[in-house]
């Protein structure tokens, strides 16, 4: 059924972070006038101002409306975002689930008063108050888009169509040497999720909450998987190229990659395998040390507005967070393709969350492995 981990963690959001008390920061009570400028830290493609492609621009209209002049810095990984936020130079950040908790715990971002953000009302309810964007029921940002790490394969080279992650994890996979995997420590969760389904006796309840034994088993699986892997990917260009050339024929992917590949007439298909999928859900957050908080709130309101949210979702290739955005997309099928608003689909996704010592699945008798362990393990997996 629903690989219901999300339910657990959502209901136990507070428990999941038990023992972790965020710094006591005040949220804004009332909105004032914009300060005239705003420094944005974003994933590439999240804050386009037309400088790369004049047709892709949802920043200029914001600047015109609010008078807040925007500067954008992009980052390549969640961890880069965390370290950049520590410089205190940025007002708002688009944080994925594997960054957000760290930002909250480190005091880099402050609670957000969603009442001051009119468009927040239209955000899908199933994205609100989740463990990666809230603590103890207090939202720390505005959900903005989400997507899944799907299984993609070349239909001409992979038959029958796979329904399980087994094709990328099983030592006997016929696609040895043509498997691809995501190049980040967070990918350990994908393997844990696979073990959760295939090795129930390990007792994994949440792929982001692994005790020592579970972690070792997961890492072993990944080490064995390495013999199958042709390459690890981290940028979408590499992935599309690998599938186009045939260097990779099966592996984890994003919907947008599948779309581009299909657009280039590469015979690929994607699916949500039986074991479920991991995914991301991004949240715009506000720096605790920001001097431009009013502009920050205005930005958060703008970016989840139907038009902007639709533009981002289409350009970046993900599901918008605003239910009204689907009406604004250029490609009318966009929301269908990306399963936007499909709560059941969304519930199948194990959204990226930072693993910490306090087990996120609520266990208190053991210590879980934290993200720095995951990073070191990732280095060892790749060898």
């Amino acid at each position: 059924g629903t690989s219901g981990g999300s339910d657990d963690s959502s209901s136990d959001g507070a428990a999941g972070t038990s023992g972790f008390t965020p710094p006591d920061l005040k949220k804004l009570d009332t909105l004032g006038a914009g300060e005239g400028k705003l420094s944005v830290l974003a994933w590439p493609g999240y804050a386009e101002d037309g400088s790369n492609d004049p047709k892709v621009d949802w920043v200029s209209s914001f600047e015109k409306e609010t008078g807040c002049q925007v500067t954008v810095k992009t980052f390549g990984t969640s961890d880069e975002a965390v370290s950049l936020m520590k410089t205190g130079q940025y007002d708002v950040v688009s944080a994925s689930g594997d960054a957000s908790l760290r930002l909250i715990a480190g005091g880099q971002v402050e609670p957000v008063n969603t009442d001051l953000i009119p468009n927040y009302a239209d955000v899908y309810p199933f994205l609100k108050d989740r463990p990666w964007n809230s603590v103890k029921g207090q939202m720390y940002g505005v959900p903005h888009g989400y997507g899944a790490n799907l299984l993609m394969w070349r239909t001409d080279k992979v038959t029958p169509a796979p329904t399980s992650w087994g094709v990328v994890f099983d030592a006997n996979s016929p696609y040895k040497g043509a498997v691809t995997a995501y190049d980040s420590p967070i990918y350990i969760a994908d393997a844990a999720m696979y073990l959760m389904a295939t090795k129930p006796d390990l007792g994994i309840k949440n792929p982001y909450a692994l005790d020592e034994k579970q972690f070792t088993a997961t890492v072993d699986l990944l080490k064995q998987q390495k013999t199958l892997v042709s390459e690890y990917w981290s940028d979408y260009l590499k992935e599309v190229q690998a599938f186009t050339s045939g260097n990779s024929v099966v592996g984890t992917t994003w919907q947008v990659i599948a779309n581009v590949a299909t657009g280039e007439k590469v015979p690929v298909q994607v699916t949500v395998p039986t074991e479920g999928v991991t995914g991301w859900s991004d949240t715009w957050m506000l720096s605790a040390t920001s001097k431009n908080k009013n502009c920050g709130y205005l930005w958060m309101n703008h970016i989840v507005s139907p038009q902007a949210n639709a533009a981002v979702a289409e350009y970046f290739g993900e599901s918008p967070a605003n239910a009204k955005a689907c009406a604004q997309t250029a490609d009318k099928n966009h929301c269908t393709t990306f399963h936007a608003g499909d709560e059941a689909y969304s519930e199948k996704i194990w959204y990226w969350t930072t693993p910490i010592e306090q087990c996120l699945d609520g266990r208190t008798d053991v210590k879980c492995t934290d993200y720095s362990r995951w990073t070191q393990a990732w280095t060892q997996i790749k060898g």
Partner: protein
């Protein structure tokens, strides 16, 4: 004359093969800038001018190019000044620790870029409390560019010796006049060669830049790096690179011409 005919032939063929090795990838970049495929799959299905048109409109690429040029120029000027000073100090004086100084000059280029990058990043933020930005990129680039200027200038100084400067002093010119009228004209082409290499080094640097660039400055390599991650932008990167290759002929040729005499660029190194 003493290299025998067959050897010359072998060398000529090898040179052609090596030139092919150097230019085939560049040619590929050029062809790919016309490739309709958004991820420049090979072989191209079809060709298009779309990417060139889009690149021409890309304000981001132009801005980044402008940042790179400015960074390169300022870093080169600093490297020229500092590199020349060290070259003079090492060539014209003997002092304790001369060897250490020459080691110090090559250290920034000899140590891996990532080490220099995180060391400077750490120092800028935690020790000096600088905000990462244009200035920090320039400082970082100038640091590892000093060596190219230094190498060129010291080689020239070694060759010209002190006689001409002494002749100038002998004829009544004070230190500064001598530098202006004699020393500087003599090392000018070495400065040009060193400066050109320094600029090229700075212009294509990405690793150190990644760690020292602030939010608002994208150098061209960083822009390229970021755009490889954007849907629909990757082909434009090929266009930018192809354009760079084509237009770089101008400064290189110009510098060759300006350096005058038979002294080819880089020979001073």
């Amino acid at each position: 004359m003493t290299i025998s005919g067959p050897t010359r032939m072998v060398l000529r063929i090898l040179t052609i093969v090596i030139l092919a090795f150097i230019y085939i990838p560049l040619l590929l970049v050029l062809v790919n800038s016309f490739n309709v495929n958004k991820t420049f799959a090979w072989p191209p299905r079809d060709f298009t001018l779309e990417w060139w048109r889009r690149a021409a409109e890309s304000q981001g690429a132009l801005d980044a190019l402008w940042v790179s040029v400015r960074v390169g120029l300022v870093a080169t000027v600093i490297a020229l000044v500092l590199g020349t000073m060290i070259a003079f100090a090492l060539q014209r004086f003997s002092f304790y620790g001369r060897d250490s100084v020459s080691l110090l000059v090559i250290l920034p280029i000899a140590l891996p870029g990532i080490v220099t990058g995180i060391a400077l990043n750490n120092a800028f933020r935690t020790i000096f409390g600088f905000e990462l930005g244009f200035g920090t990129i320039v400082i970082a680039h100038a640091t590892f560019c000093i060596v190219t200027v230094f190498n060129n200038v010291i080689a020239r100084l070694r060759r010209t010796g002190v006689h001409l400067e002494q002749a100038s002093a002998d004829l009544g010119a004070s230190g500064f006049t001598t530098f202006r009228l004699v020393t500087f004209p003599l090392i000018r082409s070495a400065l040009l060669a060193g400066g050109l290499l320094a600029f090229a080094l700075s212009f294509d640097e990405i690793i150190v830049t990644t760690f020292t660039a602030g939010a608002n400055q994208q150098t061209l390599p960083i822009w390229i790096f970021n755009n490889l991650f954007r849907p629909n932008q990757a082909p434009i990167v090929n266009v930018v690179a192809a354009a760079l290759i084509v237009f770089s002929v101008i400064p290189v040729w110009l510098a060759q011409k300006l350096s005058g005499d038979a002294e080819p660029l880089g020979a001073g190194r």
